[in-house]
């Protein structure tokens, strides 16, 4: 299951959607809004996506995680819009029969999301200035 949402992410609810009697392990990763990037203070972030492509790439990440590991359910949710420091921006939950697959697939999913999914954040400073973060490599290059 992959989803973009403008509403707050409920990690507990996401965990419940991936739990299964066949799975003895559930791994959860949360990305939250950090107050400092280097010495730059952030008061809030704005997240923007190219929604149809973002959902497509997130679905491909789920497919690839299922191909590589024996997992039960995968939940991948990213929040959009304005987020304050401390709020959850992204959540990945993976259930699996055994913990190694749950950890590995969860790690893979968040790493691939940060590399491939067309979502961007704008860091907004206390003085009202803001900057879109475009620091990584050209997306899609392998």
């Amino acid at each position: 299951m992959v989803r973009l949402t403008h509403d707050p992410i409920d990690p507990g609810a996401l965990l419940e959607t991936v739990r299964s009697p066949h799975c003895g392990a559930v791994a959860l990763f949360l990305g939250t809004v950090r107050d400092l990037t280097g010495e730059q203070v952030t008061v809030f972030l704005d997240y923007e996506a190219y929604p149809p492509m973002a959902e497509k790439k997130m679905a491909e990440i789920e497919v690839e995680a299922r191909r590589r590991w024996e997992v039960g359910e995968v939940g991948l949710v990213h929040r959009l819009g304005r987020l304050s420091v401390g709020e959850v921006s992204v959540a990945v939950a993976v259930s699996a029969p055994h913990r190694a697959a749950a950890f590995d697939a969860c790690r893979y999913a968040i790493d691939a999301l940060k590399e491939l999914v067309p979502i961007w954040k704008r860091e907004n400073a206390p003085d009202g200035s803001g900057t879109w973060v475009h620091q990584s490599a050209k997306p899609g290059d392998r």
């Binding site: 997240y47 923007e48 190219y50 940060k114 067309p118 979502i119 954040k121 050209k138 997306p139």
Partner: protein, 81 residues
């Protein structure tokens, strides 16, 4: 052929537009999209060099030939998560 190219984040702010319409001859490629965009919005030139071009919601190679109705977008380095 006329194509609409979607812009996001820093590209959208630089160009002060959510989309740009470009005209290209039949047989044009994704590389031609880059050239036409830089001509239409010179301020995008630097960021375009670090951006992917998406075609119908997938990353496209520069030699890919366009078809009528293709959906195009500039994908600057991503920063989700």
């Amino acid at each position: 052929m006329s194509f609409t190219v979607h812009l996001f984040a820093g590209a959208r702010e630089l160009a002060r537009a959510e989309m740009v319409t470009i005209d290209l001859p039949a047989g044009a490629t994704v590389a031609d999209v880059r050239t036409a965009l830089a001509r239409a919005k010179p301020i995008l030139t630097r960021l375009l060099g670090r951006s992917a071009i998406a075609l119908n919601h997938d990353f496209a190679d520069d030699d890919h030939i366009l078809a009528p109705g293709d959906e195009l977008a500039v994908i600057p380095p991503v920063s989700g998560g």
